[in-house]
Symmetry: C2
Subunit: 202 residues, 2 copies
């Protein structure tokens, strides 16, 4: 990216991200990754022993994109409304930078449900710790009584799904005008926050 003269191993990983994230494991070809990286196909095997190994490197990267920010925001010392606003805002921003990641993860986990476990353990996120924040907010009367899991899942749904379903939605509702759909998604930083807050206020 910034570094034009990057070493081969990194060039390969970048190229592999571009291809695997868009087309998934089964839909990707090693030749295509090599072309994307402007290197010879056999170099892929020199640096990463197999397609599977290269794929796993990309998968681990993908999972990490969507973990770290969450914890810090939710556990910070702010009113719950402000936490939701920050979460939605930063999550949608990440999705603009990595729009293919969610569908990629969903797709590949159906193929092999175990690939997630390892990547998730490394991240050190404790689901219960997150949910407890919402339980406390309910106790303090900041939000209405509602299963915190619903809050988290609904928030993730409202952020992620519009990116995952972009090709469909763009076609059906936006005449396949990509810019228009992107502007619509940008505005959702505000509208999703508003939607969430109205839905869970006491």
């Amino acid at each position: 990216m910034t570094q034009e003269e990057t070493n081969t191993e990194e060039k390969i990983l970048e190229a592999a991200k571009n291809v695997f994230l868009k087309k998934g494991m089964a839909g990707s070809r090693m030749q295509e990754i090599a072309d994307e990286a402007n290197i010879n196909k056999s170099l892929l095997h020199y640096y990463y022993r197999s397609k599977e190994k290269l794929f796993l490197a990309v998968f681990r990267f993908a999972v990490k994109q969507f973990i770290p920010g969450i914890r810090d925001i939710i556990l910070s010392e702010k009113p719950i409304v402000r936490k939701i606003e920050m979460f939605v805002d930063s999550y949608i921003e990440i999705l603009f930078q990595h729009p293919f990641v969610p569908i990629f993860i969903i797709q590949e986990i159906q193929r092999d449900p175990d690939v997630l476990s390892g990547a998730l353990m490394e991240s050190g996120v404790d689901p219960q710790e997150i949910l407890q924040v919402f339980y406390d907010a309910i106790d303090r009367g900041e939000i209405r009584p509602i299963n915190p899991l619903e809050i988290m899942l609904n928030m993730l749904s409202l952020c992620i799904f519009p990116f995952a379903a972009k090709p469909v939605m763009q076609r059906v509702f936006f005449d396949n005008n990509e810019d228009a759909y992107m502007r619509f998604l940008e505005k959702r930083k505000k509208t999703v926050t508003e939607f969430m807050i109205k839905a869970i206020k006491p």
Copy 2:
């Protein structure tokens, strides 16, 4: 299903649904579909000329699953709140019957964005006609001023995403207990409706 002695062509289509919906076009093998149907591989080519043709038959089926019910409910003569309740309820019910369909459609449209157009035309759904219903409800003061597209997209997000992300959510929040997650999704017929209504009431 009910008919044990079904003809070969139908057996093939059923088997193809099972395989394609779970693994997608690139991840599926003709041999696997043949095994699933308990027939010889070359019979697939006898009834459907190619893998692509067989796939398209499955894709058209998938799209149709999620079209017809929508229109009737949204355009019916009922209060908007009741429409939303019925929509969420029936949509989640369809998802219980065909949990792989949304992710399948999303996945394959990324591969080839044109496959949707044909299947969508046949269905005869007019997006503007649907959105107009919400504009009218806003004019009558039944709901707060909000872009109808947000309502539709949010409703679809809240229904679909929890099914698409099932393998992840189940693992992270339910100790990989499938029954528990399914009961949670069943309850969402009520909680999503409630969530939606609170979010858009005037």
